[in-house]
Assembly symmetry: C2
Homo-oligomer: 450 residues x 2
Amino acid sequence: MTFELTKEYVDHIQELIERGDSEGIREQMEGLFAADITSLLIELDTDQAKYLVTQLETTTGAEILADLDPGERRDFLKAFTSQEISRYVNIFDSDDAVDLLNEQPIQVREEVIALLEDREQARFILDLLHYDEDVAGGLMQKELVKANVNWTVNECIEELRKQAEDVGRVYAVYVIDDNGILLGLLSLKKIVLAHKNTKIQSLYDKDVIFVETYRPAEEVAELMQKYDLDTLPVVNVQGKLLGRITIDDVIDVITEQASSDTMAMAGITGEVEEDDTILQQTKARLPWLLVGMMGGILAAKFIGFFEGDLKVVPAMAAFIPIIGSTGGNVGIQTSSLVLQSLADKSGLDSGLGYRLLRMLAIALINGLIISSIVFGFNLLIGNEIQLALVVSAALMSVVFLASFMGTVTPIALEKIGINPAVASGPFITTANDLIGYAVYFGLAHLLLDL
Amino acid sequence: MTFELTKEYVDHIQELIERGDSEGIREQMEGLFAADITSLLIELDTDQAKYLVTQLETTTGAEILADLDPGERRDFLKAFTSQEISRYVNIFDSDDAVDLLNEQPIQVREEVIALLEDREQARFILDLLHYDEDVAGGLMQKELVKANVNWTVNECIEELRKQAEDVGRVYAVYVIDDNGILLGLLSLKKIVLAHKNTKIQSLYDKDVIFVETYRPAEEVAELMQKYDLDTLPVVNVQGKLLGRITIDDVIDVITEQASSDTMAMAGITGEVEEDDTILQQTKARLPWLLVGMMGGILAAKFIGFFEGDLKVVPAMAAFIPIIGSTGGNVGIQTSSLVLQSLADKSGLDSGLGYRLLRMLAIALINGLIISSIVFGFNLLIGNEIQLALVVSAALMSVVFLASFMGTVTPIALEKIGINPAVASGPFITTANDLIGYAVYFGLAHLLLDL
């Protein structure tokens, strides 16, 4: 039943737009959900997109604008006047409104806020603008339904009726005291089933999980996942109810977190995407390539010292790649596993010592298997046994060292507050490679009595 | 306000358990949420954990069992009789019940189902056991509230009252016709605000997004994210309402997907974790290490051919690492970016040609910068200009080739239905390295007139 976006469809819509056939466009958009129209917009150029959006009802237009990725939206809204933008922001959820405004130049931001018809919305937005994007306060929306603990279910429903307009999705009604302190919540289910004159006091659920405005977004995501919440009330230090965070915002946090970790692992910094400008991509990628290059240059200088040895046993050179790649692969595997268990916060962490022990045990197995195969290969192709020994010994030590580095580095980084995901990135990998070459040539120099 | 699990606390609880002080334990658990008790359980040995759980109310025990990771739960439940297990499964949501039973040996599974007091639950479970875990049918739960389109709001509320017990979280009431075909939904908000005698017919929302039982889990996750749904009704091919998928199940799908991609990238197969047995970990890691090793052996054989050249210009060996690492890094960066945009399905994909063009443009910039720096370095340390030229030319071509591979491979893998995430894994990286060495020694052989 999902909507399929085809080249033909896009062409057809573009035709309608060029013809200025607003009738036909509205017809076409009739059956579609906002999210579908959004994916269509991305295929149109700005003017076409603007024309299409302005043909739709303001509410639909607002949904679409809320859907767009920050970057796309910033560019798209350049085609709109502050007046036009304010018309949509006016009916946005306050959290989405703030996200949109934060993407705009200050002047536009100020103008839009000034032009908002809904003054409450303006007040909400000014409140929320105080918070960083990556804390609970920056994720929350002001729209919520609260009921005083002394009310009856009936009064609560009346309040709900008043709020129903503004509050998109109602999961529960938050129960507060006369000072606005959060006491608990009352599920819609209970409200539906309760008797109209029942006092909320006797009905509401006191075990409520909440979060303070300054808590980091990751912590919010963990909380909502751990306790399976669809909304999380946000309070100030006094416990006063300020807003709520809905699960959809948190899903975005989770996915962004995951993708930025993957990117860090691949040696890419920041929220860059394939279709970003070439400059943006170079900015995100070049630094790490240079790290790798520096590593390579160091390796070159280092191996240079052993040129003499290489003259005597040029076969040595042939095993430089396997030393490097084995070190790299073992390091990435190990750190990724450690990262994974660092990420899942459930339970106490097993001590570093225990971790290392396991890692080294696994290293022993992998190392033995790899180095003996390579040893066999060396004899097979008729290399001297000393060289074969050196290579395998080097491989063995590389596997151990990489396992050690891969275990210790992420833990250390986490301790000093750096995103440990970089531990699987180019920097550490390069370090592992260098260690590998050092061991290899060191051993060779000793054992091949060069 | 979050619960902190400390070593001291765990010790204290263990003491209480050893003393068999069920009173004290219940006191301690009083204030805790099930999820908190779960993270505590993980720290106890099986007997202690079982004793603790059996001290709690069945409902709390059930929540805890539903919380546990599959692996932990399978081991933990070995300490329980089918009779004991059935007591918990009896009040499970049907989807969680099926997950739990699928982890059990067939005999236990059959016994538990036979022992269930709630026969409806048993029927639910038998229905759901038909579906694979990774399709919509395997994610859905049978518990939901449905109302016939011809009812009044009042009848709907009565139904809700009947169901309220079994259906944990109610987001909306699903509206069906006399044949159980899904027609739309009615939000609790509307029910609360509506007049008791209003006909559902005139109230419910016909634009409902649903999914068929056979749809893959990833598609379900995309749908719920794209359309911001907290529940998704599941229907059979005739459109008959069979169950619903709640957002919390989908969050698990999303996070698992992300982590398994990261693992694939790191050269780790399957759902292995740091604290799995050494054997499991070796199974997951060794294959990829062997791939890397094979690559290394190939490289060795290959470089072997040029031993002659190396005798003459041993300095060549020094640049083997930088060739390999640069190829690897560029390849991973490129494929990760392509993967990212393959993953986000919004809009049409830009054509392969366009993609390649951009990638090559970026490659040109990165390649030029890196190779000129390395060129400078070579002259600096007094290598002959020919060697410097060879190295930089090789680097340049490696950057281009890796960018090309990194762009084409994931797209190709996706086309033939292999998880493209492996494109950033050891296999492709190894391939890139080999290409790099080939280019390097090829060029050297030509340009250094050896």
